[in-house]
């Protein structure tokens, strides 16, 4: 019998798979069977996740007893099934989920759509985050004038209860030492 895929080589392998409740029998040559196995590696997400979970051998023993108080799911069971029990699990297992999320998605922070009720809060948080990043960059580039300006913007956005960070104070000193008409490069960099 010839291989039914290529029709060239003799069929040496008899393969049975169940697809959609229908039994499928194939008679393949070794080469075509190999190709078929390659197709296997194109499997879906859950397979990927489970392989990542299996590979995560560095997970410390204490995770065995880590249990979500809300739904009862344990991290141990999650490692086997890839399924969390409830939204609270994300908080309970956070420490161990973060590296996993990073391996799956390459990132650990959502940047997409937000529910309508958290919209204002989230856009504010994202704006703050981007202002902070820009400020850090300005400091690194020693553009203290811009940094001071960004600091003021951040302060204006922040609620009064949040104390200003050390970082913000340190710029304050720089800004004082840096009059508008002096280029910031002239201020000592260790400020």
């Amino acid at each position: 019998m010839l291989c039914e895929k290529c029709g060239v080589a003799p069929a040496t392998i008899h393969l049975t798979t169940i697809v959609g409740g229908e039994k499928i029998e194939q008679h393949l040559c070794a080469a075509c069977c190999q190709k078929q196995k390659q197709a296997l590696t194109m499997a879906g997400m859950s397979t990927l996740l489970l392989s990542l979970l299996k590979g995560a051998s560095g997970v410390p023993d204490e995770t065995v007893t880590l249990r979500c108080h809300s739904c009862g799911q344990t991290f141990e069971v999650f490692q086997k099934t890839g399924m969390l029990g409830c939204p609270k699990c994300y908080e309970v297992f956070k420490e161990h989920l973060t590296p996993l999320l990073s391996r799956i998605h390459g990132k650990t922070s959502h940047t997409g759509r937000v529910p309508p009720d958290t919209f204002e809060q989230t856009t504010m948080a994202r704006r703050l985050e981007s202002l902070r990043r820009n400020m850090d960059r300005a400091i690194a580039e020693e553009d203290f004038e811009l940094a001071a300006q960004l600091r003021d913007e951040i302060r204006a956005m922040q609620p009064a209860k949040e104390p200003s960070s050390d970082e913000l104070d340190s710029i304050d000193n720089v800004a004082v030492a840096c009059p508008d008409d002096v280029t910031c490069g002239e201020v000592s960099a260790d400020a």
């Binding site: 009862g72 890839g82 937000v114």
Partner: protein, 339 residues
């Protein structure tokens, strides 16, 4: 007379379905105050169904899966309106489906809600807009599990963030037959995307049909993900077209021989199994795209659902044996392929 390039442009926009068969969007959402479906008791499962039905019944028709005859359930699966997984717990799950079958919501599958929208060919934008329209409507009425850092929370961390999966169903006979498909797989995985055989995970792509979709759901916006998938899909469409042309130019006789033999089987065989059908179907579809045969591509595409087991059974008055079903399949295919 029409300018040649104009004519070509017009035919290309219509003929985008030569490689891209359909587009699909899926959004995973969960209620903030209920455990994920796998951890719900019966009461919570019913509560989840109740909420969805009351929020959506003005536009979608609810289907209680345990009250639906098994055959009807399978037809929904063959039309991709619901997943096989949803049928594992019919007494706890439900589906809501629009009258045009372009939008469906699976309730209590892996997540509380799986909003799905479908569009023809490469109209992923349309599917995208429809899914988010439904999502927006739902979010006016209910609170979904959401975390400022992680976005929309899902039962499996592979969907967390946007909860979005955008996919395009691609017919890639030339890439498959030439063996180039393994390069495609590698290229795609580097882009945070994935490609797999459409019919069943872990088996070869029956009918040379593949689903290209995003793998990453966290840290990219919905628009970025959409654009990632669209870019990759259009590259694959071009890639497949190039190889199709190359195969045809390189060995016309053998390629057309393979195509026409496939047509011969579909037009003449007295019985045909689902597996053989998918094989020949792919070659015949390829032939139609290359204008080797006069058959209209939409006729061929329609067969993809109507020749599936449950659809065939639904047309019969008595329960069909495997052989009877294969006979019915051959009859159906022949009646549809008459030019």
């Amino acid at each position: 007379m029409l300018d040649d390039s104009l004519l070509q442009k017009a035919s290309e926009s219509v003929m985008d379905n030569d490689v891209a068969i359909s587009s699909r969007m899926r959004l995973a959402r969960n209620f903030a105050d209920l455990p994920f479906p796998g951890f719900m008791d019966m009461e919570q499962a019913q509560e989840s169904v109740r909420r969805c039905v009351s929020a959506l019944s003005d536009t979608l028709t609810p289907y209680a899966l345990d009250k639906l005859p098994p055959l009807k359930r399978m037809i929904l699966v063959e039309k991709h309106l619901i997943s096989r997984d949803l049928l594992k717990t019919p007494e706890r799950s439900a589906a809501m489906i629009s009258s045009d079958e372009k939008l469906s919501v699976m309730i209590n599958e892996e997540d509380h809600l799986r909003i799905q929208s479908f569009a023809p060919a490469f109209e992923l934008d349309l599917a995208f807009a429809k899914a988010f329209e439904a999502d927006t409507r739902l979010q006016e009425k209910m609170n979904f599990a959401y975390d400022t850092d992680l976005g929309f929370l899902t039962a499996c961390p592979t969907n967390t963030g946007t909860g979005m999966r955008a996919s395009v169903m691609l017919h890639l006979p030339a890439l498959t037959w030439s063996g180039e498909i393994s390069k495609v797989t590698q290229a795609v995985s580097k882009l945070g995307l994935t490609i797999r055989g459409l019919y069943g995970e872990g088996t070869e792509a029956q009918g040379d049909l593949y689903q290209l979709s995003n793998q990453v759901t966290l840290g990219r916006t919905e628009e970025e993900i959409l654009s990632d998938v669209k870019t990759a899909a259009s590259q694959m469409v071009e890639w497949e077209r190039r190889i199709r042309a190359a195969l045809h130019a390189g060995d016309k006789i053998n390629l057309e021989d393979r195509m026409l033999r496939a047509l011969g089987v579909l037009e003449r065989a007295r019985k045909i199994t689902s597996k053989e059908f998918m094989q020949k179907w792919s070659a015949v579809r390829f032939a139609s795209c290359m204008r080797v045969i006069p058959h209209n591509i939409s006729v061929i595409d329609d067969l993809l659902v109507s020749a599936q087991p449950a659809s065939l059974q639904s047309q019969a008055s008595e329960t069909l044996s495997d052989e009877q079903r294969d006979i019915r399949r051959a009859e159906l295919v022949q009646s549809r392929l008459k030019v």
